[in-house]
């Protein structure tokens, strides 16, 4: 096990080094790709220094990143806190599902990003509009996976709980919720991805601060080095938040065979 894991890290590390070498090769060393199309490592470094020092698009990278992260976490949290209970409820109660499902069938084909103009119209360029669109986009995977989680609970497990005389509230807390938890976490992962996608899109379209706003400004300034800084920042933020969520999942699902390794 350990040797396989370390071999994977080794191969992964070599891939990263290879990409960096390729980057240097195509830009700085051979000039096959000019700085107008894609920044060289030096240009990237200069852009990074600029945004961290003087700032760019109104503030430093740290405050742009912090602002985006804050909005994602807020939108994601609201989506999860509303979506998961609704999904569980729909899974448990067929009448609730019958009521809500038609709404889903109508709304689901609309890509979440298509809500952005309406959200900005309603709430302006500030934080509220972004949280609203993140909510729209991250809500759906949370609901659907929680719903599927309940529907896929092993029937004998529910029967065992009923046979043991488990009262309603305990049934939800100690049986239905944990039994659905693996699927709920699948939903949370998708919701988190959706949150980042939607936030960056929303900030690209209309924002006054944030990583998407940096990308938008850099595009208007025809500033490839800064565009790459924005892209890398979003990548790192998405990666770190996903990693944190995976840690929470491993802890919460310690009992689950499938979740191990």
């Amino acid at each position: 096990m350990a040797s396989v894991a370390s071999r994977r890290t080794l191969i992964g590390g070599m891939t990263v080094i290879g990409l960096v070498v390729l980057w240097f090769g195509l830009t700085t060393f051979t000039g096959l790709v000019t700085g107008a199309r894609f920044p060289s490592p030096a240009e990237f470094w200069l852009s990074l220094k600029q945004i961290n020092g003087r700032g760019y698009a109104g503030s430093t990278l740290a405050s742009h990143a912090f602002h985006s992260l804050k909005l994602v976490l807020m939108g994601f949290t609201v989506a999860v806190l509303t979506g998961v209970p609704l999904g569980l409820w729909m899974g448990w109660n067929r009448r609730v599902e019958a009521f809500i499902n038609p709404v889903f069938l109508i709304i689901r084909p609309i890509p979440p990003l298509a809500w952005i103009p309406l959200a900005i119209l309603w709430l302006g360029l500030g934080d509220a509009a972004k949280i609203l669109v993140i909510w729209f986009s991250a809500f759906v995977p949370s609901v659907i996976n929680a719903f599927t989680g309940v529907r896929n609970i092993d029937k004998p497990i529910l029967e065992a709980a009923r046979m043991l005389g488990t009262p309603r509230l305990r049934m939800v807390r100690e049986v239905i919720l944990p039994a659905s938890l693996p699927m709920i976490f699948t939903g949370l992962r998708l919701s988190l991805q959706a949150s980042w996608t939607t936030l960056v899109a929303a900030e690209l379209v209309g924002a006054l601060v944030g990583v998407g706003f940096v990308l938008n400004m850099a595009q208007q300034d025809i500033y490839p080095g800064m565009i790459l800084v924005g892209m890398v920042t979003v990548g790192i933020l998405g990666w770190v938040t996903t990693l944190l969520l995976a840690r929470v999942e491993r802890r919460a699902l310690a009992w689950n065979v499938a979740a191990r390794d």
């Binding site: 497990i157 029967e159 065992a160 709980a161 009923r162 043991l164 039994a179 009992w255 689950n256």
Partner: protein, 265 residues
């Protein structure tokens, strides 16, 4: 008290022309503290019988009575041991066994005593804090049995409880169940594919026909067991060698073979 009665019970799954008749006029009375095994070809409705007593399934006609009262819903007075264990994977051994007692709102001290004695009875003391997936199949089934026994149920319903276990574990569990049944007799409805298991464990064996299932024959094992003094033999294989045991087993085999093709036996 824990008597079970099937009175002219029919069970049809589905409706109209698409309906499948699973049980046809089942009549069976199981006395308090009696151990009855049902054997029959697969698909004949054994599980359906048990699920009706458990309260998971309603009869289409006739009635299923426990202590003379119709069964309406599942409850801890009729504990079920499922073939696939049906433990809660997110609960430890202790938590699995404890849930039913918590549902009964027993005081903590009493609860702990009962759990401790159930753990001891099933030799689970060293695995109290393990999760089910960390246990072997045999150990998991011990937890399931402990979870049922700790409820002190009037009726114990076991649906091929050892069907998923390997041959050796199975024998150990059969011996333990006999030990348990002598130590603390309960009304037991036990379903099995294995004829020898039925003869070894039960006071009476009911043989069912193939679908739609009817009760074909009920054999009194207890009379033979007491007459031939089976309990003087500690080991299952010694009992299974006795002429009286072989005689009963062969009788049931023949009866079952009439019901299913040779290949199934």
């Amino acid at each position: 008290m824990g008597s079970i009665s099937f009175r002219n019970v029919d069970k049809v799954f589905g409706h109209g022309t698409g309906g499948v008749k699973a049980l046809d006029d089942i009549n069976l009375d199981i006395a308090d503290k009696e151990f009855v095994a049902i054997v029959g070809p697969s698909g004949c409705g054994k599980t359906t019988c048990l699920r009706m007593v458990a309260g998971f399934e309603a009869a289409s006609a006739g009635s299923v009575l426990v202590n003379g009262r119709p069964v309406t819903a599942p409850g801890p007075d009729r504990a079920v041991v499922f073939q696939q264990f049906a433990l809660f994977p997110w609960k430890t051994v202790r938590e699995n066994i404890e849930l039913g007692l918590r549902n009964k709102n027993l005081p903590v001290g009493e609860r702990n005593d009962l759990v401790a004695s159930a753990l001891k009875l099933m030799n689970l003391e060293t695995h109290v804090d393990a999760f089910p997936h960390q246990l072997s199949g045999g150990m998991q089934q011990r937890v399931a049995i402990a979870r049922a026994y700790v409820l002190d149920p009037e009726v114990l319903l076991m649906d091929e409880p050892f069907g998923a276990l390997d041959a050796q574990t199975r024998v150990v569990m059969q011996e333990e169940l006999v030990r348990l049944a002598r130590h603390n007799p309960r009304t037991v409805l036990f379903i099995t594919h294995a004829v020898e298991e039925a003869v070894y464990l039960a006071d009476r064996v009911a043989i069912m026909t193939r679908r739609p299932g009817r009760i074909k024959e009920v054999l009194d094992i207890k009379a033979v067991r007491e007459r031939e003094n089976w309990d003087s033999h500690a080991r299952i294989e010694d009992v299974m060698d006795l002429e009286s045991f072989v005689h009963l087993r062969t009788h049931i085999w023949k009866s079952l073979r009439e019901e299913k093709g040779f290949k199934d036996v």
